[in-house]
């Protein structure tokens, strides 16, 4: 299988935007490990963290992608064949930015990236989207594939509307709009730019300070005894390296398409297409949490677990929202969290398997082991 043992296929000159971020630095690592390249460079707002040693020859450039003119200049100098655009501010958690900034980086920044790519004769642009752009955060997604509709806002002005923290729906619309920009740029105008989008679900791994970090916290606080709902809801979590792998497979496919003299047939096409990416291992939602807790050291089974009915959870969530609302603070526990933990969201990734030859490199359990180990190490360092 091509993707199981990539025979160091060539990607030419590769640029990773957001290459010091959570996903981005895994992309850089994987490029160096598995692929043959003539140059690797990174653009990020700040390039101190997640940096490869100088001996790897990666060129780091500090730049703000919302500064379109500067970005075009930088790309004009780097002249990449492939651009992997992973940059997006953290959507949730402690490092979350305002919706306004979120929109600015995702929509304006992505537009600037597209323009810069077109002007610098980039051949392939792969964009990091999200599987959640198909979700309204209420309705289940049951074995959804790419034919499911993407949730969109009514008009552009909506992206500017500042809403309360932790309401992620406007942000998903922003991500949907950014993906639309990228895919619409495929084969347009005078440029030969080919584009594709990767929609990962539940991405986790080393460097992740959201899902796994949060779950390890719950374990350390001894709060593993509650389960909301009957745990029949299936979810999908994807180890970060597999997501990185999918990006590079897409980039490779776009390069091959660019070399071909004819436009590929619809059913084998990669350019202008979006691809859902998961570990191919759907799992009952709470079982993932338990696997994390086990990896973090828990010796508990499920005998101590109280199954809280969803309705009770919703009531508690609402009470918490009211309480926090009264003291005018963003609530830490909300109804949305309850909804999330009872929602079914899993995907059919056969399109990526077929067209990209995608096969996950790392199993879910190995991913969990690595992610939890990293989290524990980091927490130990923080304590020092």
């Amino acid at each position: 299988m091509a993707s199981e043992k990539p025979q160091k296929a060539s990607l030419g000159r590769v640029l990773v935007i957001g290459g010091c971020g959570f996903l981005g630095h895994h992309v850089v690592n994987l490029v160096l490990q598995h692929w043959d390249t003539t140059a690797v460079s990174v653009i990020d707002l700040r390039c101190q963290r997640n940096r490869r040693p100088a001996s790897d020859g990666v060129e780091y450039v500090e730049a703000d992608i919302t500064d379109a003119d500067n970005l075009t200049k930088v790309l004009g100098r780097l002249r990449p064949d492939v651009v992997i655009h992973t940059a997006s501010p953290q959507a949730q958690g402690s490092g979350a930015v305002s919706n306004e900034l979120f929109r600015k980086v995702n929509v304006d920044g992505t537009r600037a990236v597209v323009t810069a790519c077109q002007q610098s004769a980039v051949k392939a642009l792969v964009f990091t989207s999200s599987a959640s752009i198909m979700s309204d955060n209420k309705t289940d997604l049951i074995n959804a594939n790419e034919t499911w509709p993407v949730i969109r806002g009514k008009n552009q002005s909506e992206y500017y509307s500042e809403t309360k923290a932790n309401q992620s729906a406007p942000r998903l619309r922003v991500q949907a709009a950014a993906e639309e920009l990228v895919l619409a740029a495929n084969r347009t105008g005078d440029s030969n730019l080919l584009t594709a989008s990767i929609r990962p679900s539940g991405i986790f791994g080393e460097g992740d300070v959201q899902a796994v970090y949060h779950l390890v916290n719950i374990y350390e606080q001894g709060r593993t005894g509650v389960q909301v709902g009957p745990n029949t809801n299936i979810f999908e979590f994807t180890y970060v390296e597999n997501v990185a792998h999918a990006h590079l497979l897409a980039a490779r496919a776009l390069l091959l398409t660019a070399q071909a003299s004819t436009v590929p047939l619809d059913h084998e096409r990669v350019d202008g297409e979006a691809f859902l990416i998961t570990n191919g291992q759907p799992i009952y939602f709470w079982d993932f949490a338990r696997a994390i807790w086990r990896a973090a050291g828990s010796d508990k089974g499920t005998a101590h677990v109280w199954e809280m009915p969803r309705e009770v959870g919703m009531l508690l969530g609402w009470l918490s929202e009211v309480a926090f609302g009264l003291v005018r603070k963003p609530p830490t526990f909300t109804r949305q969290r309850i909804v999330y933990s009872c929602m079914t969201r899993y995907y059919d990734i056969s399109k990526a398997r077929r067209r990209l030859g995608y096969v996950p490199l790392v199993t879910l359990s190995e991913g969990v082991r690595r992610a939890v180990q990293w989290t524990l190490d980091r927490k130990a360092e923080e304590k020092k």
Partner: protein, 465 residues
Amino acid sequence: MPSVKSILYYMFHPEQLRKVWHEPVYRRDPSKESDTLKSCFHYLDLTSRSFSAVIQELNPDMLVPIALFYLVLRGLDTIEDDMTIPLEKKEPLLRGFDKLMKIDGWTFTENGPNEKDRELLIHFDDIIAELKKIKPNYYEIIEDITIKMGNGMADYAIKAENGEGVETVAEYEKYCHYVAGLVGEGLTRLFVAGEWANPALNDRPELTESMGQFLQKTNIIRDVHEDFEDKRRFWPTAIWSKHVDKWEDLFKPENREKALQCSSEMVLNSLKHADECLFYMAAIREQSVFNFVAIPQAMAIATLELVFRNPAIFERNVKITKGDACQLMIESTQNLRVLCDVFRKYARRIAKKNDPRDPNFLEISSACAKIEQFIETLFPTQDPKKIALVQKNSNSEDEEKMDPWEGLILVGSVLLALFLISALMIGAAYLMGARFDKMFSGEPSSLVPAGSKPTTSLLGDHDEL
């Protein structure tokens, strides 16, 4: 007139009643059968109760070929199983069984006296007589599988003689292939030859293989204790040696948790075939054939759930209850959809029993979820076109999340309404003479106006009942 005893029995085993109602698609008609064919069905009953019943409900075209196919394989099995036959004698019998079953009047009388199916071989001439009558294309299939299985069994007999057990997972699956996968191959070819199944099954041999593997592996897990007592082992060393040092350690009470973890790994290994089994059964085009293949599969997923994390499998034989078996009979003889519901139900039960401390916890959870996912590919719950339409139509601002303040007002008004109603009721009670002033004074029946007679005690009331 049902007897009192049977009424009592059905009262406590209501599920059994369903068996009484069960109406097979076809029923064989012994009055039109030759003596030798009747004899064949007699031995079918003797050798396998459960299989015999499902075979006899097959459509008339498949009935005899499949019954004979089963008896031929059973004949082979009876020779292979018999430890009183020396290997020098056994090997040529197994490898040449396809020739023997062509000889008119051939019988075999040298089985040990304790071999439970020796009668079948003593009267094998009846089976041979009927084999000559079936359609040649059916006969060819039976013959081909007999050759393959005879050779496979001979190879295993030699290995057993040399004390070689099942070491790797590949060897384990190869063994299951010889004893079950080949049966599946023969059946699939018979179904396709008779046009009772989608011919595409011939191009997807892995689906047929999964059908056999799933049944066989599940039985091997369930029978671990019985096989241990018979000094036989089918669990591959590659799996059990991860959990205990010596095979017999698995059965020691002090190693129960390790043994359970080992059995979960075996269950996981079996579970991976479940989706392909469902896929296979989607290709069956006729009800009686569907029932024939679906019943054992439904029993297998239920058995897998029963043995999963069940310490009893190391102490004694476990079996699904008769009630469950009957329920499964009913549910697996309807259609694919109902059968999928059975698979989903048991997959969820397995997931529920799963223990986070088990080394294969995550894989097992995922294997169960994958069964559910596969069922979704057969019968999707969601239709993307409909979802798109709904989204288009609900142009009302999708973000009508309730503001906490709004909610507070809502709850406030509910409380206010409650307060008003209570006030009204209490007021009415006061007007009618309720003495609220005595409510907390501890006097009996303080809410009752003075002078009214206290009611008789509750106990007194009960005496009259």
